[in-house]
Structures are given as C-alpha cells and as structure tokens.
Symmetry: C2
C-alpha cells in the first residue's frame, strides 16, 4: 500500500490550500470520524479521503482513498486530534428558494467561526428550517466553524446572502422579522408571541445588528438581564431565543 | 521613563510564568482595558500593571506601573490584541460560606476554558448568586477563560470545590439539585417549576454529568430538541436553562 509521507507531494500541497477560504471554490475539508460519518449519511459529495493506514478498512464505497502518514494527516487537519481521517467534500452550491416559509435564523456579520458554527448547530437542534448568513460573516467551511457546527450543515440548508436582498425577500413574502438588540428599549423576548413563519436576526459580536436591519425589523427584541454582565455571548443569546420561539 | 525591552528581564520572565496554572498560586494576569477597568471598580487587588508608554497616564492610583515595549507586552499577553495593558492581580481565596441560599450554577468537569468562561458570564447576566466549579474543570484564571468570562468573576463569587463535598452540603441544607442530562428519559426543562434556592449542574462536554451527580440530583432535566443535532454546546444549553429558571 502506498503511503504518502512527504509534505512536498503535489496532492498534499494542493489539498492543504483548502485551509484558505480563497481556494475553497469547489471543495472543502472535514476532519474526524463523526463528521465523516455524517457526510456519508448525507451523501455529501465525498471527493477524496485521506486516512491513516490502520483505518483503511473503515472506509467503504466508491471513493478515492489516499493513505498518509500521521505527520501528513496532521498537516491536512487543523485540530490536534484529527482522529485518523480528513475528507475532501464538494462545496454545496445552495440557491435560495424563491418562496421561503418556516422558521429561520439569520446571522448578520458574525465574526467568530466558533459562534457561527455553534449557532447553526443550535438552529438545527431546535428544528429551524434554514440559516441565512450575511456575506461578511465568518466562512462556514473553515475547519474551525465545521468543528463547532458538528455536522449541522448536513441537516439544514445554510444560505450565504447579501442582507439587503434577503430583507427585501422576507418583506415581500410577509415573513416576520425579529431582530435582537442590546437595548432595553426593545421588547423583552419573554413577551414576544411567535406564530407562523419568522426570521430571527442575530448581529455582530461587537456592533450588534446594522441600522438597516434595525429599520426593517418588525420587532426589536432583547433579553432582560437581572445581573451585572453587560452582555451575553451571541451564541448563548441565540440559543435562548431560538428555543424560546419554538 | 524606563521601558523594559528585553525578554530576559527577570520581572518579565517571572510574570510570564503566570500563564501556567502551576505558578498561579498567589496571582494571575488579565489583559485589555475592559477587564482592567472592571478590576479597578471591583477593587480586585491589582499588584502591578504592565503598559505601553503611550497609556501611562490612563492608570491612576497607587499601583506599581512597569512600562514595556509592544514586543514585551505581547509576550505577557495571550491574545493578538492585548490593547496596551496587562495587569497582575491577587488571586482571590474564596471560601465557601457555611450556609448557602440562592440560585447557583455548578460546573462538573467542564474542560473547555471558553465554555467555562461563557457559562460564568451567563450566570452573572442572569443574576445568579454564585458559581461552583469542580476541581477537574478548566481553570478560571487562564487568559482564555478570563477572555470569555468578560469580568464576571468580579461580579459573583466562583468557588472551586470537590463535587462530593458540595453535593453533601447542598443536600444537608435542603438546596434543590437540578442536573442536566442528554437523556430524553429525564424531564424537559419547560416542565420544571423552579422556586426558592436551587443549584443547576452542567456536566462535562463529552460525558455529561457523573453517576454520582445523577444519583444525588433531585431532578434530572434535559432540553427537548425537535431537530437533528445530537446535542447542544454545553454553554448554549446552560444559557437556555439559566434564563428559563429565573
């Protein structure tokens, strides 16, 4: 069995480029068995598997398998513990449907990959229909986002959008827009009655939602905080709201 | 004004040791103006300030100030952007009060510093009275935990405890123990009525709560998830429960 051990191998060098967003046009990488199993189940377009020799028998089906040394696997992975497998998947080309109806989470310019991944995972757990993420938010196909997302992008569609267009579409189709603020001037979430289709918008970690979103929202919502902390982590706030509104 | 520019300076070398838990017996480091301002407000025992020359005038009061070069400040800090200040604070020696009454968050063996910090911040926001954290949980005085905690340890006491002793004390004093599980066999949190004093226990990221906690809890609680994700991030789950129970 051929085992790639050289970092200067052309395939390894090309694959490693997928760590950078600019090269993730067609494909992206995942690491670890949990995500790989989810990818198989979701028929997620597995293009190639990089694997340690000892695990070769665990991969079944018609997929190109490249056996690599532990050092090379570490090169391709991002975490300290890639658990013996890195896989290259086809990047889904999600097009926003013409008609939207259901429960949606919208992320406006959320910067931290961990926050983006955690919020998509939470929306999945809470049974939301899709997530829209603004073009200035963190990329969902970085290994860091993928780690915190835990495979939720295989369960629900994640659409990358321009906020103006999304807001126009939501408005046109009569989807209620709930946007979260830090201001106590808005409505406390416990007093919000939610029925039918809606989109919950979470803003940037530092700045919150944009003036555009604030002006377009049907309801501005906050979480009353009886304690002394000035704010909540955005992913925690999203969790409280997402579960409160189902 | 003397400016320290050498990494081999004795004071810098000694201070840098505080990045390691084993050296944090008496003191710990914080970074950035937000935490420093909170520390001043909380009268948190500031032992020394390391600062860039341009910010010297911003530090008032009777505290030793050491001016350092940007390279040295970076050495002492952990983040990419320490914002011109690192301060050394006295480590609080918190002793658990003999009588506990109120609302508490308990972390059992939570490994990730970001999760620990975020949960303490959330408990602070929700107005809880204190946080108990098991001796196997991540250290709260690491720069990473401190960053996600955002100064909440200045607002509410955080006690490091042995779980057995804490559980015995809670039992003896009749404090209701709510422990979170991943099992749908337990009660959904929306059906739990909470009044009076209680302690909410969150378990380890992978394993959840220990068999000991499970056997001692008055109520085992879970968050029903209508979607496909297998679990929630522990800090998100804590946020949902902490705000639901106030």
């Amino acid at each position: 069995m051929e085992v790639i051990r050289s970092k200067s191998n052309r395939l390894i060098k090309d694959t490693k480029k997928l760590h950078q967003k600019k090269y993730r046009k067609q494909s992206y990488l995942i690491e670890g068995w949990h995500l790989f199993d989810e990818a198989c189940q979701a028929k997620a377009g597995i293009e190639r598997v990089f694997i340690l020799e000892e695990y070769v028998d665990r991969v079944v089906g018609d997929v190109p398998v490249t056996v690599v040394s532990p050092e090379i696997l570490q090169e391709l992975a991002d975490s300290q513990t890639p658990q013996g497998i890195v896989a290259q998947l086809a990047l889904p080309q999600a097009t926003i449907p013409d008609t939207v109806t259901g429960k949606y989470l919208v992320l406006e310019d959320v910067q931290d990959p961990g926050n983006v991944g955690t919020m998509i995972r939470t929306a999945d757990a809470a049974g939301y229909d899709a997530v829209f993420i603004s073009d200035k938010s963190a990329d969902i196909y970085s290994l860091k986002t993928l780690r915190s997302m835990q495979g939720s992008h295989f369960h629900l569609p994640v659409y990358r959008v321009a906020m103006e267009e999304l807001l126009a579409q939501l408005k046109e189709q009569g989807i209620r827009i709930l946007a979260t603020t830090l201001s106590a001037q808005s409505i406390d979430y416990k007093e919000v009655e939610v029925t039918g289709s809606f989109a919950l918008i979470m803003g940037n970690e530092g700045q919150g939602i944009s003036p555009l979103v604030e002006s377009q929202a049907d309801d501005l919502v906050h979480i009353s905080m009886p304690g002394q902390a000035e704010s909540l982590n955005v992913a925690v706030a999203a969790g409280i709201l997402l579960f409160s509104f189902i």
